[in-house]
């Protein structure tokens, strides 16, 4: 920009500010819009879709994916990826259940797995940052190790007779199941922190251009380890929400969980190229997917075509995002 144009810069008028906001939050608005349209259409076809029991089960039942997607979004914004989160959640859930039936207090059962998640992912982050192993490699390996380890340790035995006060996902606050509150509050906290905290900005910087970030004085290696550790925290919270939904814990790795979490993050606007996206988007996208999965059953879509329709909808959302980005380039 030339000197004179800098001098000419004026505060934006309202329409321009709105347009700027749309640009910045475009993908989030697209996802929100898709969610609204979906609910309107399906609600028209089958009003029971919009019944409060159904909406609650959609949003609360899948809130753990949104929570995991918060951590995953941070990882992706930093320019990395984690395909081991599903296996990690399986392991942490089993640890939680084992502690709960082992006579420990529910706080121990809740907090130890979260700490374990932080520790494990910090190690993965260190391998990525200091040993310079690409994150996909580290997490592919971790995925196998965690899954095999879980089966070796438990043979998939079910953990039952869980103490009632441990089952936090089944508790309600103000009539709404707690997972919804966890997802909402954590999303807001992280969104604000990413936007206004220096650490948040450094994650974006590292993801956008690691060399430039380093040149600007950001400690990239420490940032990456920290990002992975934080991701471990959210995986731990997600694991607690996941494993306390029912009266038993299955001690297995939930199928396709990592794919669902990654999809929620990227559809929510987190660019796989790193450097852009927000956690608000990923939470909305997680909700959108839960809504789509439920909608497909409500719309009487033949069960054989469920997954194809889901794939088409993912594609549509992705292309819509590309269309929006092209317009602003």
């Amino acid at each position: 920009m030339s000197e004179s144009s800098l001098a000419r810069a004026r505060p934006l008028r309202a329409p321009a500010r709105l347009a700027r906001a749309f640009e910045a939050y475009g993908q989030e608005l697209v996802v929100l819009g898709a969610l609204v349209v979906l609910m309107a259409v399906v609600g028209a076809v089958n009003p029971r879709y919009l019944s409060d029991t159904n909406l609650v089960s959609i949003f609360a039942g899948n809130a753990y994916i949104a929570v995991a997607a918060i951590g995953m979004s941070l990882v992706i914004i930093s320019g990395n990826i984690d395909v081991s989160v599903g296996s990690l959640i399986g392991v942490l859930g089993t640890i939680a259940g084992t502690l709960a039936v082992g006579g420990h207090s529910r706080w121990v059962a809740w907090l130890v797995p979260i700490a374990a998640g932080v520790a494990v992912n910090a190690v993965l982050g260190a391998l990525v940052a200091y040993a310079r192993i690409p994150s996909i490699v580290v997490t592919l390996g971790a995925m196998s190790i965690l899954r095999g380890g879980l089966i070796s340790a438990t043979s998939g035995a079910w953990i039952s007779d869980l103490p009632g006060d441990f089952l936090i996902a089944q508790k309600r606050f103000l009539g709404v199941p707690s997972p919804f509150w966890f997802a909402a509050v954590l999303t807001v906290i992280v969104a604000i922190w990413m936007r206004h905290g220096a650490f948040g900005r450094s994650i974006y910087a590292v993801g956008g251009n690691a060399d430039a970030a380093r040149a600007a004085g950001i400690r990239t290696k420490e940032t990456i380890v920290a990002v992975f550790a934080i991701h471990g925290f959210f995986a731990g919270v997600a694991a607690i929400l996941f494993c306390t939904q029912l009266q038993v814990i299955q001690s297995t790795v939930p199928p396709n969980l990592e794919l669902n979490v990654i999809t929620a993050s990227v559809i929510g606007g987190v660019s796989i190229l790193g450097g852009t996206g927000t956690v608000v988007g990923s939470t909305l996208a997680a909700l959108l997917f839960a809504a789509i999965a439920s909608a497909l059953i409500f719309l009487d879509i033949s069960a054989y075509w469920l997954r194809a329709v889901l794939g088409l909808m993912i594609l549509a959302t992705v292309l819509a995002d590309m269309a929006r980005r092209r317009r602003t380039i």
Partner: protein, 366 residues
């Protein structure tokens, strides 16, 4: 161009899938054989022996056997129970070393690799529960050709690929038991839905096909709402069952077709506050269902005893290896289970399906 592509995708996605739900066209195109509406399970069919035979099997009578058990997958309660039965029988016989190994996902390709590795290792006997009856046949035939004894349980292979198959219950018998129990609870014009694992799981697909035939024959007024998949994951089964409850105002009953789906379905009914209003009938292990049966949420759980199933399979393996069980036999002695009948040529029937209720469920621990 992009917008056109988008429009095409959105429209096709909404059009592509709309079809009548209900009805069941899955299964493997095999004919169904619904039982009579009243009375018991009926006589089992008798056919000439149609199993395979090992080539040049060494004389194993009285010798120590190394047997490997390769179920559909390891890490779920059902196969932990069959594995326990196999181990119990091995200990009782005293002359068998048995080991359970298998893929961590219900994947036929991985299962084939496992079996192949054990063939190379050299075992005396292979026990299996197949992920796919036809796909597993080539590797089992290879085992037979190397003189290994092959006995199946729970999920069969093509008959010529194994020597004997221990059948927990006949497909039509299970269908009859499930539907009769459901009709007792929700009435002859109730509406029900089914939660299964996947549409390609052979046992489940056959059961549902038999249920469809039996329902048309003996409970024609019952409404079959829909069938959903939930793999072997209990959280997914729970979510699917909850969606069904939310969607159908007239839903009176849920069938759980796997030992994972049934407790998850019961939990969904319980958390929705519909205990007693929506019946849950299905296949499950008693331990998983005790809380719901004791609460009165679930009245009956249909199963056979998987520990007995594994136990019987091991005894059959010993008898086959020893040569005491030969093609053409009409029954076989299986330890504490007594004499088991041979049906359909090369199947050994464990017995009629067992119904767990509030009265008897406390006596079992698996």
């Amino acid at each position: 161009m992009l917008r056109a592509a988008l429009a095409v995708i959105l429209i096709s996605s909404l059009v592509a899938g709309r079809a009548e739900a209900a009805g069941w066209t899955g299964g493997d195109d095999q004919p169904t054989n619904p039982l009579p509406c009243t009375g018991g399970a009926g006589p089992a069919a008798s056919k000439p022996y149609d199993g395979g035979a090992p080539a040049n099997a060494p004389a194993r009578k009285g010798k120590k056997l190394t047997v490997v058990d390769i179920p559909k997958l390891i890490g779920i309660g059902y196969f932990n129970a069959t594995s326990k039965g196999i181990a119990d029988a091995a200990k009782e016989l005293g002359t068998v070393t048995a080991k359970t190994d298998g893929p961590t996902k219900a994947n036929i390709d991985e299962q084939i690799t496992f079996i192949d590795n054990y063939i190379t290792r050299g075992v005396d006997g292979i026990l299996f529960a197949a992920n796919d009856p036809v796909a597993i046949a080539p590797v089992l035939k290879k085992a037979l050709s190397k003189g290994i004894n092959v006995v199946g349980y729970d999920a069969d292979a093509s008959p010529e690929a194994r020597q004997w198959f221990v059948n927990q219950a006949q497909f039509n018998g299970i269908a009859k038991s499930l539907l009769d129990n459901m009709a007792k609870e929700i009435g002859e014009d109730g509406a029900f839905a089914i939660v299964t694992s996947t549409f390609t799981t052979p046992n489940q697909a056959r059961w549902i096909a038999e249920m469809s035939a039996y329902a048309q024959k003996c409970h024609p007024k019952m409404k079959w709402l829909e069938t959903v998949e939930a793999q072997e994951d209990n959280v997914l089964s729970f979510n699917q069952a909850t969606t069904l409850i939310n969607k159908h105002a007239d839903l009176k009953g849920i069938f759980g077709m796997t030992s994972v789906a049934t407790p998850a379905g019961a939990e969904a009914v319980s958390q929705s506050g519909k205990c007693g209003k929506i019946a849950v009938v299905g296949l499950a292990t008693p331990n998983a269902m005790k809380p719901y049966v004791n609460k009165g949420c679930v009245k009956s759980v249909v199963l056979w005893n998987p520990v007995d199933l594994g136990y019987a399979a091991m005894h059959v393996m010993r008898a086959v290896a020893d040569g005491t069980l030969k093609p053409g036999a009409t029954s076989v002695k299986a330890g504490k289970l007594g004499e088991l009948k041979v049906i359909n040529g090369s199947e050994i029937l464990l017995g009629p399906p067992f119904v767990f209720t509030k009265e008897n469920i406390g006596k079992f621990d698996f």
